[in-house]
Symmetry: C2
Subunit: 491 residues, 2 copies
């Protein structure tokens, strides 16, 4: 293991380096530096790929596991070490199964496609993007075949979320549709016009720092900056950076994004630094990561106890905007159902339906039962069917997300899985800590942070996502806790 | 050449990457991230060193030059290509002559020494630093021997400044002493108390951006940030970053540093990007680089024509502080002789004497004619002899500079060489453009920037510093232009 860990630590250092370069690119880099930055990042990718797929790693890995099957060949390993070894083998398999030629072709196409997508979205010109998307769908299908699953889409899912399959996603998503649809049909639309007044950016920043304190945000190890799109980029538990974006007439955009990214950051901050470089210091999966951000963003950050504590601070910062607004009015406004065709602007209830739409369309694209040229119509009719909304145009319809242009088929489902994981974890936490709301209303989140650290963060990738959720909650992932939570909150 | 350029481009990309990491470390990195940052930088250094000293580079270089003597073996190269090849060989020789074991020992010692130096300076405890300095002097002597010069100090000089020797430095420095000493004895100390009022940091920033425009500072390719110590870190002509530091009660500190670093930046900005990675896109030398920063900082930034244009802007930003101060008063104040024991706080006239002091002491340390334990006394008596100042303690005496703790023996002389180069270049420029002052007084520096670009920047390392100065000014470097300039300005 020592040898594997050493190679992996070097890979991690190169990854962290690339992380800083990426963060810089989105925050402070002069625009003119973008071409050389792309070259720097490409070189780092290449150095990482060489180490990951190199002879040295393969030889050391082969001493411990059967390279073909992943079966562990040595005795006396701890549970965590076995988990780490399994993760090493998984990453190595994924990295080596794709031919170099294919990887280059895929990288080249998606890099170009992202630019075409951005211009196509700006000009509402789906036809410009369509030929690229056709090619991407083709390559993603091929990718799934290289990765060796019977159903190519299963392989694409598994790439983002270990052990996830189309069948599992269908089983998890099916029970969500009807109750969520009923809610968005039935729920009243409260007044939220006071959230469209002007909120000074500097005060928005002051408020977000206060909220982040609830998550234990520590400036000695963390930063909050601004960028076009919010993100979290943690290069090490001791250096984690989140960004948000400020819209002067929509304060909740910034605050919500800051808490969301803060939830991701808390995970990274609590990964054990002593294992830096090994899978034991990496997050369990994309969906588990998303569960941590959504825990803080929605379960806590859109809860009444949270705002019992923080709303007076909001009113303090924004006297003229909120003086006449009661806590109840505010709470209702930030949880209002928004009939928006845009996923990232949507509310907690509609969000999953936005994801289900994408899941159904992307599986059809990969299967070949939906042609790219028919996507705009399919998108719009599904949007009407699921969300009772008709997008004005393709820019706010099937062109709204960057994911497919990056070749990210199989990624969307992890968003909703994150919500399901969060709700199921939270139900367990609530049983163990029935007084959480009383503490939250006092601004005390220490126990909650500690619980997440011990149950989730500290294990890195020792457990697969299914193992982890079973271990913590006693059950496999199911949509039950999520629907219960949503129905209770919105009834 | 193509093969050499390819390896070198990869090295340059790793260098640029390390440059961003270093910049980040001094500007935005959360303090807690310093340990992992040191590891990231160490890995990059190692990757760079491997490529520089590796078999591939050696083989390709050996096809074009005699590795032992550096003699070029191929015909048909352009002047610039021959210069690039000579630079490749020089760098390769320097990188391969030092045994790896020695390099590691040197890096380890100087890394530890810097920390000990910082604490020793803070506590005014020379005794704590002395054993480290002894060890550093020993290793520097050894380094000089490895690098193969007859006089180890010559090798240390040459490392920073190609072809520089102790003999040359002595010849250049000797004529400076008496005239400079006379000036600082004779010159009156004008009132500059208005420069010690409070100048709001945000307005200082606004003013520095205006000044930087004179140098063609373009935010599309450049940044100005704040850090503890000002520096310039250009990773590519398209991405150059400078920092300054703001002292609310000393506005000229920030403005001067911004112009100084801006001068460095202009050089980097004008290096030909098409040669990125090759010596043809690298600065000619440390001293030539310094000549560019000092050109703008002193010859221009402390000149009357410059402030004819910018002083009204200063008064605009700082009404209450400068309303009653005339341009002449301001000009005299920013050029006042300051009897300070601190090099970085000193004026244009005293500065060279501060450097001469260091040159005389560091040569004596390397020669062994001065023992480290006797350094404080030697420093203080030389300070009295040259500058008529007695440092209060060692913290503002021989402990003030970081250079020796980093093993930077042979570096100090390049500062004064920078001034001499700048003055000699400027004398030539002035002959060709006698109307420069009229244009400067209108804020027009375009011709000046163009001249520097064509005469200096655009050549990269095609010429050695002696070749370059001869080519541009018609003469070898001499102290004449500098003393003439100083005597004229201050008489």
């Amino acid at each position: 293991m020592k040898e594997l860990n050493e190679i992996s630590r070097e890979i991690a250092l190169l990854h962290s380096t690339a992380g800083i370069l990426s963060w810089d690119q989105e925050t402070y880099m002069p625009k003119g530096g973008s071409a050389i930055r792309a070259e720097e990042l490409a070189l780092l990718s290449q150095l990482i790929h060489q180490r990951r797929t190199g002879k040295k790693f393969r030889t050391e890995l082969g001493k411990l596991v059967d390279l073909e099957t992943g079966e562990i060949r040595v005795d006396g390993l701890s549970r965590a070490e076995r988990g780490a070894l399994r993760a090493y083998h998984r990453d190595w398999s994924l990295a080596t199964r794709l031919p170099e030629k294919f990887v280059r072709e895929f990288a080249l196409l998606t890099s170009e496609s992202q630019q075409v997508w951005a211009s196509a979205r700006a000009d509402n010109a789906f036809g410009r993007f369509a030929p690229y998307l056709e090619r991407i769908v083709h390559l993603c299908r091929q990718k799934g075949e290289y990765l060796g699953a019977e159903d190519p889409y299963d392989a694409l899912l598994d790439e983002h979320e270990p052990n996830l399959t189309r069948r599992k996603v269908e089983t998890l998503f099916k029970p969500l549709k009807t109750p969520l649809q009923e809610l968005i049909r039935r729920l009243p639309r409260p007044d939220s016009s006071f959230l469209q007044k002007r909120y000074a950016p500097s005060k928005q920043m002051a408020m977000s720092y206060e909220l982040l304190e609830a998550l234990g945000f520590d400036p000695h190890y963390s930063r909050l900056d601004l960028s076009a799109h919010p993100f979290c980029d943690a290069t090490h538990p001791s250096d984690g950076r989140i960004t948000s974006h400020i819209l002067p007439n929509n304060p909740m955009y910034h605050l919500t994004a800051a808490i969301h990214e803060g939830g991701h950051l808390l995970y990274e901050r609590n990964l054990p630094p002593s294992h830096y470089g090994s899978p034991l210091s990496e997050a369990a999966s994309t969906a588990i990561h998303e569960s941590q951000s959504r825990w803080w963003e929605t379960l806590i950050g859109q809860s009444l106890p949270f705002w019992r504590h923080f709303y007076p601070r909001m009113q303090h910062h924004f006297k003229s905007q909120l003086a006449d607004v009661s806590l109840t009015q505010f709470y209702k406004a930030i949880n209002a159902i928004k009939s928006t065709p845009i996923r990232v602007d949507s509310d907690e209830v509609s969000y999953s339906l936005h994801i289900i739409l994408r899941f159904e369309l992307e599986t059809a694209l990969i299967d070949g039962t939906l042609e790219v040229r028919d996507l705009p119509d399919a998108w719009n009719s599904k949007m009407e069917e699921l969300l009772y909304i008709t997008p004005k145009n393709n820019a706010e319809g099937c062109l709204q997300d960057i994911h497919w242009s990056m070749g990210g088929f199989g990624y969307f489902p992890t968003y909703t899985l994150g919500n399901l994981y969060a709700a199921q974890l939270f139900a367990t936490f609530e049983k163990e800590h029935p007084d959480w709301a009383t503490k939250a209303a006092k601004g005390d989140f220490q126990e909650m942070r500690q619980w997440l650290k011990q149950q989730i963060h500290t294990h890195g990738r020792a457990y697969t996502p299914p193992e982890l959720i079973k271990r913590v909650t006693g059950h496999a992932l199911s949509p039950e806790a999520y629907t219960t939570y949503i129905l209770e909150k919105y009834s």
